[in-house]
Symmetry: C2
């Protein structure tokens, strides 16, 4: 059997209709280096979505491998209940330095679990401060926070959640969100007009609301939409006035994707809970983290007999190998001045996507921020899977685009070289032209 047959015999691929693989078999990757995936057939693909938004530094950085080996020589992983080690302490310090107020860190491996920890903890914290009637969650319309059922309950993605409705919690979705094309958009700094209906919506549930969860600035699975930083300022002010917790899900946006360490930094707001994952290890190993404030921590801090503990755990909470990789990633960001280089990449991405739009006449609603740019296909029949066809065509041409429905986007490693973006633009343009003739 060749590897494709062996794969399809046993692997149920994530986020896939497996029947699609009959005509579009999985691409066999044997190696990856920098921004490129090397295939078994000898060709390469540009990793245009950073392997699901996580490989912020590309593939196979030798410094990361050295850090991984160094750690493996001493300590792979131990239970983190009642123990500590220099690696996890260092990582926790690195994470606590991200914000002025989020001093405490709890770990898991999957991003969904970090979201579940934040939601559970917010509810529990409200109880502990005598606000047990605050049991409701709100989230932004079109948001996405993961696939475990509580995370899915606060995700506004019909397709993903429809079959599981009997298992989901109710959630108040805030709509409409003031989307923008980027930081130069007028609404970026002022969305007061759009805020008022949201405020009205929130005021109706203010006495029972526990927390509001959101992907700050960019909604990933929701077609890479960007929204006003000013919206977050309004939201933060309202939440503070109404004793409602804010949960920022920075799993996709964190560590430079929007140009700043955190996307909430665009709005200069503080939140009560922060979730990070993907970029934390530059997509090398799974580790996720939830940060919260000393104020929240103190609510749970009491004699054991009082029964106030947050008894949440995962086996690999704080896996030491993953933590060592994460620490190395923090160092590389410094050493390579990654944050300083994003503006140039950002402008280049925008310029090239505009060029593709101009040449093909098939892309509209171009938006970009940091190291991400997106546009929607202009098509007659939006129910046809044009994006999926362009995806397949682009693979023949040398890029792993994987559009979101009929939205094309580039989301390359933050250190992707300029010529690779040019290549990516050529491939995208050709693929669009071939499919949307």
């Amino acid at each position: 059997m060749d590897i494709t047959e062996r794969d399809l015999k046993h692997i149920w691929h994530p986020c896939s209709q497996m029947k699609d693989y009959e005509t579009f078999p999985p691409v066999t990757i044997t190696k990856a280096q920098g921004s490129y995936l090397h295939l078994a057939n000898g060709t390469t693909l540009i990793d245009a979505n950073s392997s699901w938004w996580c490989k912020s530094l590309g593939h196979a950085d030798p410094r990361i491998h050295a850090a991984l080996m160094q750690q493996a020589k001493t300590l792979e992983h131990t239970i983190l209940a009642n123990t500590t080690n220099p690696t996890i302490v260092k990582l926790s310090e690195n994470l606590a330095a991200l914000t002025p107020n989020l001093n405490k860190v709890m770990y898991a491996s999957d991003g969904s679990c970090a979201v579940e920890m934040a939601l559970k903890m917010s509810l529990h914290a409200q109880q502990l401060q005598g606000q047990g009637h605050r049991q409701q969650f709100a989230a932004l319309g079109n948001g996405y926070h993961g696939e475990t059922c509580l995370a899915l309950s606060v995700s506004d993605c019909g397709l993903y959640s429809e079959p599981y409705k009997p298992l989901l919690q109710p959630c108040e979705y805030l709509n409409p969100i003031p989307y923008v094309s980027g930081v130069e958009d007028n609404k970026w700094h002022d969305c007061s007009e759009e805020w008022h209906p949201i405020e009205k919506q929130l005021n109706q549930i203010k006495d029972t609301l526990c927390a509001i969860i959101f992907e700050p600035i960019v909604q990933g699975a929701g077609q890479m939409q960007i929204y006003s930083a000013n919206f977050l300022k309004h939201l933060a002010a309202w939440a503070k006035d109404n004793q409602v917790y804010l949960i920022a899900d920075e799993i996709m946006t964190g560590f430079g994707r929007t140009g700043l360490p955190l996307a909430i930094d665009h709005a200069g707001i503080e939140v009560d809970f922060l979730c990070v994952a993907k970029g934390l290890t530059a997509g090398v190993l799974p580790i996720s983290a939830m940060l919260t404030s000393d104020t929240v921590y103190d609510l749970f801090y009491d004699d054991y007999e009082k029964g106030k503990s947050f008894l949440h755990s995962h086996t690999h909470t704080g896996n030491t190998l993953a933590a060592a990789v994460a620490n190395c990633v923090f160092e590389i960001f410094q050493e390579d001045n990654i944050y300083q280089k994003i503006p140039e990449l950002s402008a280049h991405l925008r310029q090239q996507m505009e060029a593709v739009a101009n040449h093909t006449g098939k892309l509209t609603n171009i938006r970009h921020i940091g190291a991400m740019v997106a546009g929607d296909l202009v098509v007659d029949n939006p129910n046809t899977r044009w994006g999926f066809q362009i995806f397949q065509e682009a693979i023949k041409l040398g890029a792993m685009l994987r559009p979101l429905g009929n939205t094309l986007y580039w989301f390359p490693p933050l250190n992707t070289e300029s010529h690779t973006i040019d290549e990516l633009a050529d491939i995208t343009q050709t693929a669009i032209a071939r499919i949307l003739k």
Copy 2:
């Protein structure tokens, strides 16, 4: 600041009341080797619970490090949607070989996520075969399946779930479970008498039941209780007759802990969904897997437009580094004849725990299977945290016991040497004697 202060400034430890750390600070681990944790103060601790039940082969096996490095040189991780690689194909073949009927594998990182996938998929599968009214889950009384909210919904652990009740689904808990002291117990082969009330309980909900989830043979967090293999035979027969799915959560029991590759092998039953994690990488890196049958897979297999896809994903679904480690673990099990050596370890564990019970007169209800033995402390005031005190005393003496409440257990790496078990017994005995004077 010393490392303890630095830790407590930022780390919220899992499954902990952080105030406990004031008088019992986290133990600083700098290295681990085989069955021993090496501390910053120069002493060692026996890893008596295999770092939360996962380090089946102990720490720092050079073969695992070699496999990890070899993989890191070529491919760390890529998106697994629409791609494949030799490493994940090999792992999926290894997993599919575990049972005759579970041919399809889906991955996550945390064990809880594997459980959520199985629960979601079982509900979805019932819908797809016209049984959408089957929305209820049943689970064994005293069971535990994880901390994300759907996993917690089917866990019968009051302490862990109480604060989150508003977020949990209802679940039918089957009671009482026919517990046994081990495979030599009369009830191990025949629990017909105990089965009848359970059957009655199940019959009352048979038309709305979607799936039954259980930890086969051993309930971990529920005080390491062992139950009749015959119970699982009855359960499997009933489920088959009533079109109800069975979900075996082997996250803790899988890969040799009960003496066989899977705990369901004791009963010779087939299930519809199987969850594994912990031992899969011998606790080196986080990866979890959910297996299901071709029959279930086929329900979801259709043209994309039919909307039958199982659209679940995690960023690190099938992380390649973790998969490489898992493949190496499968090889080590063969190379070192791990399964063949468990019976000797098993007998030794039982014998030594009985000896501790005899010498101290403070342990009762000794039960054991495979590489696990447990006993309950005989105490006047069961609300006192005797187990916690013995835990602290044992750390001074050289073992990381971490009891479950007032239940002491040994759950060492499967390749732990005989003299280490003798040491562990001495330490346990001394710690009990010092605390329960």
